[in-house]
């Protein structure tokens, strides 16, 4: 019969339309911005810089090694090294970024900077409502705007953050053990040298 296919199709539409009154599964639209979907943990938008402690500038993990600047495919990161050094999370004196700018209008959220960073200093944020009327300056963010505490990282990517914390703690323990061992070895060497010097000063006892 001509028209059978159309009637069958209309029945399908009707089933969906009427079904939307009884089943939530058929109501698929999310009424943004009144409603917001919960984002999955892996979601990434734009990068931010992680800092430890309370002072954003003192606690930045970034050591301005410029690997992310080099690897960034659209080249949206600009880093300038500092002239002086500050202690990092393990206490070693390190260079820090005097300038760390990311142009978010160029960034394509590919996460390569996060993957190549050997210091766990740069991570992906989940903030997506970034529209601005300022076309050029508004999306060029500096290190003060980029710096976010480790607790923020824990909040948005808990699994990742715990892994990173464990890894950093292990590194720190290793470093501390090493410095301690070094210090002990040094102290021992110094003591030995002192002992030697002392023994050389005392006149040999002759029989």
């Amino acid at each position: 019969m001509v028209g059978e296919g159309i009637i069958k199709g209309m029945a399908e539409t009707a089933r969906n339309f009427l079904g939307s009154y009884v089943s939530d599964e058929r109501l698929t639209t999310v009424q943004y911005p009144e409603e917001r979907d919960v984002l999955p943990e892996a979601t990434r938008q734009f990068p931010f810089l992680v800092y430890d402690g309370n002072d954003p500038m003192a606690g930045l993990r970034c050591v301005a090694c410029q690997i992310c600047e080099k690897e960034c495919p659209p080249k949206c990161i600009c880093i300038e090294k500092s002239k002086d050094k500050k202690p990092d999370y393990v206490g070693k004196p390190q260079i820090y970024p005097a300038k760390f700018d990311i142009d978010l209008s160029v960034c394509m959220s590919c996460q390569i900077c996060v993957e190549v960073c050997p210091f766990e200093a740069i991570k992906m944020d989940t903030e997506y409502e970034l529209s601005t009327t300022d076309r050029f300056g508004g999306l060029l963010v500096d290190k003060h705007q980029l710096a976010k505490p480790n607790s923020h990282f824990h909040q948005i990517h808990p699994t990742d953050a715990n892994e990173v914390d464990e890894r950093l703690a292990a590194e720190k323990a290793k470093f501390e053990a090493k410095t301690k061992a070094d210090a002990e070895a040094k102290a021992k060497a110094a003591a030995e040298a002192r002992a030697k010097a002392a023994s050389s000063q005392t006149p040999p006892v002759s029989a």
């Binding site: 001509v2 399908e12 943990e41 979601t43 993957e115 190549v116």
Partner: protein, 385 residues
């Protein structure tokens, strides 16, 4: 006829014909809503019939290949997402495959399974969307496309929880994948896969027997088997013309040999066949997904020899190709041992499938050009690169 053969299409011109009547030249696009992006066709019409059609592309040209020669091997990976932005995971796979051939990396078992699962999910959502768009082109505005997007959304949610992004996934790495599946992902994927045949049934009920759809698509835009082979058409378009050629069966890449699935073939090569072949391919993809989700082993997801920074494959060349949802997607790389490729070439399926548009459209009505173009399944990000 000599006047027709000699004329070169300009814009909006009336061209005198030998006998009575005039030919009208119309420029369709690049802002025509039916051209799936910024694509232009210079069409010469005799009444409503197509006499000549010249596809004009390049409006979305972004220097993809030249950028690929300037950035590192890893740096090109996120750019491949932007080729065919519906199927970023298959693009990733094709590029990763060619670099793995170049550098001699071995992909672990679990990563191969993840690749198959994500690629087949990509195929499902691509074909679902294509059917929606095609019906939209025919004038059924809204409903079918909305149903298709509802299903696509479920698959994109899976992609987001795995890769972090809905469309620009940037997930595959040379020698494996970037991250392992998060907890509960397989169960979630299983649920989507189990429910997907219901959607295909629904869509078939909605449209496959629809008289208007059949009248609009049957015997429209017929592509002969010989022409399809000679012009290098691949993918569902080639199979709709009745040629049994599927890289998953022919090329034995990845682990497709382990799965039981059939290659659906068309008979007439018209637009209706191209529409139905997508429905059948989705059913086969669901079969592959069911087997892959059952058989996925535990283990590492990346070759330990692979490294992110300072990646320099030895000098040589490699061509990696896969069966992307739109056809054969290949990446050709020449390495001179430096951190970036000496030559980086993409063989995009929809660009090559588009070259026979004039042969399919000649003699058809102008209203049918829109649906013939829709059934080719182009994405301008890939056509123009």
């Amino acid at each position: 006829m000599s006047a027709i053969a000699e004329m070169s299409p300009k814009n909006y011109e009336l061209i005198a014909k030998d006998d009575d009547g005039e030919l009208l030249e119309v420029s369709m696009g690049p802002h025509h809503p039916s051209t799936h992006g910024v694509f232009r066709m210079d069409v010469v019409l005799d009444g409503e019939r197509i006499v000549k059609l010249k596809p004009v592309f390049g409006y979305l040209h972004r220097n993809h290949e030249k950028i690929g020669e300037g950035t590192s091997y890893l740096g090109s990976m996120p750019y491949t997402d932007r080729l065919d932005y519906f199927c970023s995971l298959t693009n990733n796979w094709a590029y990763a495959l060619s670099v793995e051939k170049l550098a001699g990396l071995q992909v672990p078992e679990r990563a191969e399974y993840i690749r198959v699962i994500t690629a087949e999910l990509t195929r499902l959502q691509n074909h679902a969307c294509l059917m929606g768009f095609l019906v939209q082109d025919m004038g059924a505005s809204g409903t079918p496309l909305m149903y298709a997007f509802r299903e696509r959304e479920k698959i994109l949610d899976l992609f987001e929880s795995l890769t972090g992004a809905r469309m620009m996934c940037n997930y595959m790495r040379f020698g494996g994948c970037r991250v392992d599946l998060p907890a509960g992902w397989l169960a979630q994927a299983q649920k989507v896969v189990d429910e997907f045949p219901k959607f295909i049934d629904e869509f078939e009920n909605l449209l496959a027997g629809n008289e208007i759809l059949m009248a609009r698509t049957q015997n429209i835009g017929t592509l002969s088997r010989e022409l399809a082979i000679n012009s290098g058409v691949t993918g569902p378009m080639l199979r709709a013309a009745g040629v049994n050629y599927d890289l998953r069966k022919v090329d034995h890449y990845g682990i497709y040999d382990r799965f039981q699935f059939r290659v659906p073939l068309g008979d007439h090569g018209d637009t209706y066949d191209r529409y139905m072949i997508r429905v059948l391919e989705m059913r086969e993809s669901v079969k592959i997904l069911e087997q892959a989700l059952k058989g996925i082993p535990a283990g590492p997801i990346i070759d330990p020899k692979a490294k992110l920074r300072g990646f320099r494959p030895k000098a040589g060349e490699a061509y990696g190709r896969i069966e992307a949802p739109k056809g054969e997607l290949g990446f050709y790389l020449i390495s001179d041992g430096s951190p970036n490729p000496y030559r980086y070439r993409v063989r995009p399926p929809s660009f090559i499938n588009l070259t026979i548009l004039e042969d399919m459209c000649a003699g058809q009505l102008i209203a049918d050009v829109v649906i013939i173009l829709g059934s080719v399944d182009i994405v301008l990000g890939e056509v123009d690169r």
